[in-house]
């Protein structure tokens, strides 16, 4: 038990350090952007105002609102304080909505879409990869190239193809959005059904992409394990095949958990782009709107939230790994 606690604290500390670092990067990078975003907003708002003092006044007001006239260090501390209050300032492109409102409206969609999809893809991929390694033959010969092809496909490409086939030609599913455009989000059956229908294509495009990479990884790991000495020894001992296979796959699974932890960032990135293809009302689409509107508070907040999501998922996986891998317990209790 003591070993676990130490492992947990170690991972927690690492989580905190990464978080601080990501936070600083997240603040600095967008602010290095050339050009004055406030000027851009003022230009948009002040269209048709010919009075220069009026424009100046609008400019002043926005500068104070966003704090862009202070030194950058001070801006940073204002930012830290505000973020911990959940206040990311106003969105430039969707003013007068606050960034927190914009993000709050989209984060749920992304969470509900991406994490189940990635997990389902991971499970299916591992099962298929393990089967390919165990059965070999025809199954392997069909699965491997298709998995390889799937994994070389960008997530948005899969999204476009599913959209064209199932939404445009077969018309089984809607082409875009998270729910019917005539509906208002609520817990009525009509709305839930509509959301469910809109959910299918984005979900499966993420699942399919995830399956490819995971199946290849699991197949390699399983083949490697199946050839290991302990398997040969177990065979000589006359242990039942099903029991050996269970051991093999348990051992092959462990690196796959780490693999998921390490690739979850890339997967989320791909899935965000897939959201854009479907105009799914999640963070990906929000990010696109931010980029289009030169809206740095929005981009900064969206990327921060994405980073936190990925770091947290990573942390949870690390903890899970500590629980399922007996070697960690052994290593920690020795020391």
């Amino acid at each position: 038990m003591k070993g676990y606690i130490r492992y947990f604290l170690n991972k927690l500390g690492w989580f905190a350090i990464t978080f601080v670092f990501a936070f600083i990067l997240n603040f600095t990078l967008p602010r290095l952007m050339p050009g004055d975003p406030v000027a851009a907003i003022v230009a948009r708002q002040a269209q048709g105002i010919s009075n220069p003092t009026g424009v100046q006044a609008i400019y002043q007001q926005y500068t104070e609102l966003f704090g862009t006239d202070r030194p950058i260090v001070e801006q940073f501390f204002i930012y830290v304080r505000n973020v911990f209050r959940g206040d990311f300032g106003f969105s430039f492109s969707q003013y007068p909505r606050t960034v927190a409102e914009v993000i709050g409206a989209s984060i749920g969609w992304t969470l509900i879409l991406q994490f189940p999809a990635i997990i389902v893809g991971w499970i299916l991929g591992n099962v298929l990869g393990a089967m390919a390694a165990y059965l070999r033959g025809g199954f392997d010969r069909v699965l491997m190239p298709s998995a390889l092809f799937l994994s070389s496909f960008p997530a948005f490409g899969m999204a476009v193809i599913l959209l064209v086939i199932f939404a445009v030609y077969l018309k089984w599913f809607p082409t875009s959005g998270g729910y019917g455009y005539t509906l208002i989000p609520s817990l009525t059956p009509t709305f839930l059904w509509s959301a469910f229908i809109h959910y299918q294509l984005p979900f499966w495009s993420i699942v399919l992409i995830a399956i490819g990479g995971q199946a290849i990884g699991m197949r390699s790991m399983s083949i490697y394990e199946l050839n290991a000495d302990y398997v040969k020894f177990a065979r000589f001992m006359g242990i039942k095949d099903s029991k050996i296979v269970a051991y093999v796959f348990r051992n092959a699974m462990l690196p796959q958990v780490t693999g998921l932890a390490l690739s979850i960032g890339t997967m989320v990135g791909g899935a965000l782009i897939a959201e854009i293809v479907f105009s799914y009302p999640g963070l990906g689409t929000t990010l696109l709107n931010g980029v289009m509107g030169q809206d740095y508070p929005l981009i900064s907040a969206a990327t921060l939230i994405i980073t936190i999501m990925v770091l947290t998922a990573n942390f949870i996986l690390e903890i899970l790994y500590g629980i399922i891998d007996p070697r960690i317990k052994a290593a920690q209790s020795e020391g």
Partner: protein, 417 residues
């Protein structure tokens, strides 16, 4: 070296991947020599012209020679072109709704159908329960079938410059044919035009070259950084290792995609060229190579031959170059191939977000995808604007992954079939 190469080229997967990649390379290198149009020139007035051969009608009429061909199916084809099966069914539907007995209508007999249509159809009549759009549709059908059965030649006329009256210049009979080779202006658009009216195929070829260069530059940068850091961390160890590994671990968990977005956004639209994007991608994707190289070097550095080298007083750079690098070379090549393919994908992802290279000079695969998405090519069914781009991206990336798997099986005997 020669032996290794021979072994590599005996791997089926590698050869298939290599062939696909080389074919693509060959096409994109030869194509610009054959078709010398600038890739981003706007030629079409309008969006998404379908693929095909575009023949200048003016030049066709003025062709040096018009040939007479008596082809049996010419009339059928002409009618079929104007009056498709669905139009015939729709016409029957209108006539039935109008009150013509259903058994009098034979939609396969064009002559009778048209006679019935002309006798009964009235464009101003609004049938009960018919939507406005449907009514307009019938008006269009009516315009299309007008004069369909006539055998009169079409007359070309031009106004007389003095009197202003139209004078007949030429007559085009229904049996007149122009030879495409003799028509002055013919443009083949095998993949049609895009939303801006630009030749998709020419653009695709140019975009593939740019995207490959982006992948190559990104891959080179990422591999160089990763290799250097991995070698330093693994071989020198100690504080250097600790510091380098700290940063490597940091960048392993911070999503690369987020960094890419933040940096590309910070650079700003004006300064984002294709190479800048490639450099940014390279600088954010070295982490994997660094980690893997380090762990390989760690296992190598206490091998006997390395220790012998140390005892002989060889310098650190020499030991790294002659005793360590050759052992990890195969791995580095594989990592490089993967970096190139993921660099191409990263550019595509960024471009779809609107953070790709600036759009005025060179097309990239990602930008083409971005334009097609913005103009809803996929929803409108304009497959030629996005499908060839997707197929190219997938083929390039698939061929590289295939080469990589082949190499993996050659260098990792445990994975061999």
């Amino acid at each position: 070296m020669q032996h290794t190469l021979r072994q590599v080229f005996r791997s089926g997967k590698f050869v298939v991947g290599f062939t696909i990649l080389m074919t693509i390379l060959l096409i994109v290198l030869i194509y610009p020599w054959v078709v010398r149009h600038p890739p981003l020139q706007i030629i079409g007035q309008g969006t998404f012209f379908p693929p095909g051969i575009y023949v200048n009608v003016y030049d066709a009429i003025n062709a040096p020679m018009l040939y007479t061909l008596n082809l049996e199916d010419a009339v059928t084809n002409r009618i079929e072109n104007k009056l498709r099966q669905e139009d015939r069914i729709a016409m029957k539907e209108w006539l039935v709704a109008f009150g013509v007995p259903e058994d009098e209508i034979d939609i396969d007999n064009t002559e009778k159908l048209l006679a019935l249509w002309e006798a009964n159809y009235d464009p101003n009549l609004r049938l009960q329960g018919m939507t406005f759009a449907r009514q307009r549709y019938f008006q269009r059908v009516n315009a299309a079938v007008d004069g369909l059965l006539s055998t009169e030649p079409a007359i070309i006329a031009a106004p007389n410059s003095e009197t202003g009256t139209l004078e007949q210049k030429a007559m085009i009979r229904q049996t007149d044919y122009a030879n495409v080779n003799e028509v002055a202006n013919v443009r083949v658009l095998p993949l049609g035009t895009d939303n801006f009216g630009r030749d998709v195929l020419t653009q695709l070829v140019a975009a593939t070259v740019v995207s490959l260069v982006i992948g190559l530059v990104a891959g080179l940068i990422a591999t160089t950084i990763g290799l250097t850091l991995g070698l330093l961390a693994g071989y020198i160890g100690g504080v250097v290792d600790d510091v380098l590994m700290f940063f490597t671990n940091l960048f392993t968990v911070i999503p690369t995609f987020v960094l890419l977005i933040l940096i590309s956004f910070s650079i700003g639209q004006d300064k984002r060229g294709a190479i800048t994007i490639a450099i940014v991608i390279g600088f954010t994707s070295w982490v994997w190579t660094a980690r893997a190289v380090r762990s390989q070097v760690l296992s190598l550095r206490n091998r006997d031959h390395v220790n012998l080298s140390k005892l002989s007083g060889h310098s650190v750079p020499r030991i790294i170059l002659t005793d360590i690098l050759p052992y990890i070379a195969s791995y580095v090549v594989m990592a490089f191939i993967l970096q190139v393919s993921s660099g191409i994908l990263a550019e595509a992802g960024l471009s779809i977000l609107g953070l790709g290279p600036r759009t005025t000079e060179t097309p990239t695969l990602g930008l083409m995808m971005n334009w097609a998405m913005i103009y809803q090519a996929h929803v409108l069914g304009k497959w030629w604007a996005y499908l060839p781009v997707l197929v190219t991206i997938a083929l390039v990336s698939f061929s590289m992954n295939l080469m990589n798997t082949g190499l993996d099986q050659v260098f990792n005997p445990a994975l061999r079939d």
